[in-house]
Symmetry: C2
Subunit: 383 residues, 2 copies
């Protein structure tokens, strides 16, 4: 397969963005990338929304950089399930992120001080509004599709409610109509780990020259457990010891509470360490809070069917059997609410062992479902 090269771009917006909280961002920039070519009728644009720790770098590679594939490069590219030979695909980094778009480590124009903890709380709805302005600037009125997994799926769903006339299709993968108490609980523990790290300094750690790495590590370790299934963890790690001999009797335990003893421990420590090197603590707080707050049925008396009545586009929902973070049950709630409104919905429940992470991984049936769906979208939008 030919390599596709990606080039990050940035667009500045001088008009203030009013936020759901009542606050506003005076001005801001969005980082984005595009792949493929916008057709003359501007009918083949597909917007990709990202989840927790991802970015606008959705597909392709950066020239001269090894292992620089975008986070959904297995899904998106020339000849892939979402075919960039047919579609003009846009990846955009969300406000509050630490990967280019205006976020907590940038300067607050109102104070001349780095935002830090003063960066306003942003919601899924705010992100969608910012994304809509990017589309305006790109001259795109209507999306052939909006697509996302997990928190990205929530944005895709919200697009269909906030801008129903601007979306023809929504592809919502491994997502949920809101978080359960358990989901919120895991987010909260991660946030408390960060916030109570003495290096956090109330979110103004940049000024102190510190990084709350201890908290970030714990947050990532917790996250990782919830992204994987019990089964895949047992298969991948089980009770295997680190530095275990390959033959004969099992080695003696180290009998230590501090040293890693089991492979799952060193795996989680490694993931935590890596994450703490590149991810911003305030961004982590903001993004988990956006997850907590998302709940389109909230102002409709918790009636999801009522809430989704505004959506008019066609839908593809995908879930994964071993995903216990956003289980198939949660996707089915969305499917049911859309069907209650007599919307056109396709739904695939993929039997995959990888838990929530499955939405980022290769799975023949998953890829084929998405590929077929976009084949039919392509037929609709070809000029």
């Amino acid at each position: 397969m030919t390599e596709m090269f990606a080039t990050p771009q940035s667009m500045h917006f001088a008009d203030p963005l009013p936020l759901q909280s009542g606050a506003s961002l005076r001005d801001y920039s969005l980082s984005f990338e595009t792949y493929g070519t916008l057709n003359a009728g501007k009918t083949n644009a597909v917007l990709i929304c990202h989840a927790l720790n991802a970015s606008h770098h959705v597909a392709g590679v950066y020239a001269g950089q090894d292992k620089s594939e975008g986070w959904w490069d297995n899904m998106i590219g020339p000849g892939k399930a979402l075919d960039t030979d047919q579609f003009f695909v846009i990846g955009v980094n969300n406000l509050g992120s630490c990967f280019g778009s205006t976020g907590p480590m940038h300067t607050n124009p109102d104070t001349g001080r780095v935002y830090g903890a003063d960066f306003p709380v942003v919601t899924v709805e705010d992100w969608v509004n910012a994304q809509a302005r990017l589309l305006d600037a790109l001259g795109i009125e209507t999306l052939a599709a909006v697509m996302g997994g997990s928190l990205g799926g929530m944005q895709a769903l919200s697009w269909t409610l906030q801008y129903p006339s601007r979306v023809r299709h929504a592809v919502v993968v491994a997502s949920a109509p809101n978080l359960t108490a358990e989901n919120i609980a895991f987010n909260e523990v991660a946030r408390r780990a960060i916030v109570t790290d003495p290096d956090f300094h109330g979110g103004h750690f940049y000024e102190h020259g510190t990084i709350p790495k201890r908290g970030l590590r714990i947050a990532r370790m917790i996250g990782h457990i919830t992204y994987l299934s019990d089964d895949v963890m047992n298969e991948k790690f089980g009770r295997q010891l680190i530095a275990a001999t390959q033959e004969g009797a099992p080695r003696e335990y180290f009998y230590s509470t501090l040293e890693a003893e089991f492979q799952i421990e060193s795996y989680l420590r490694y993931q935590g360490d890596k994450f703490a090197e590149y991810f911003d603590a305030n961004t982590y707080l903001l993004i988990t809070r956006a997850l907590d707050y998302f709940d389109p049925a909230r102002t409709y008396g918790a009636d999801l069917s009522h809430a989704l009545a505004r959506a008019t586009c066609k839908f593809l929902l995908v879930s994964f059997t071993t995903d216990w973070r956003f289980s198939p049950k949660r996707s089915r709630e969305i499917v049911k609410a859309l069907l209650d409104n007599k919307r056109d919905v396709s739904y695939a429940e993929i039997d995959a062992p990888h838990g929530h992470d499955a939405f980022l991984l290769d799975d023949a049936r998953y890829m084929s479902v998405v590929s077929s769906y976009f084949d039919s979208v392509a037929k609709e939008v070809t000029p």
Copy 2:
């Protein structure tokens, strides 16, 4: 029902206790309580093994102290499922605990310094050996039954393997033959939260006049999530906001990443705060490690049936349908391994919504299963 009063006792052991790790405890004390009366034949003793944050105070109340019920007081007492009018019940606090038995906050007789992180790693097997010495001292050769839930169930199971001739019955509730990778993962995150708290000081925080409360809080919050079921969390907390109005439209969000917004958040914070006030950080590390290490099949090529061949007593296994920490599947593994050895096994899978916590709660069927079982044990041991 008449109140039963409990009196904590302590026994000192001057003989060194060799530990599985190769280390040994030069001398040590065990805190314990007893309820009911040992019969003349000394045939009616039941040993209760405790789980993570519990103690020897299993049943009854302390005279003059409100809300001082033992942690399994709903199960054990006069006329209760485990009837102290018929049985002589012993609760014992494990080595390494922070509730009376020799542990990390006591002085190491070899150095004159508080043990702290130098307290040796103790295992389920070590605890059972220490418990056996307590029984020796009490003049009890054979237990009518050994009983425990969760980690306590592991001790009960280990009794049947280490001292098969000293146990007539084992009651193993909400337990598992070992931890899964996911179980270990949760323990490890909790330990890292404690160990990386700057107030931990490598486990010698007593000397620094600090307590790693931040880490303990996080550890407890994580633990709590795993003790509850998703369903019961949704039923109890759902997405309810704190300080929510009782009628009309839902209140506005606070739009804060630092303030508690949802009831599940303030619940977890409260649980974490409370725990950090009374629990010892080194004890937490030791006890979670004992959980990780327990694996009777390990030296039998991971063949549980082979490992359990040593057990000769009769068994009652109980599990709870919504327990995702130690799911019914794990209890069934033990049941199968015992049946492979043609042992006498009763097994009850209780349909309860409360997750792992169910083993501590009242449930009519659960209590009735245990009660019936002990009725038949009573008939066997009555002199």
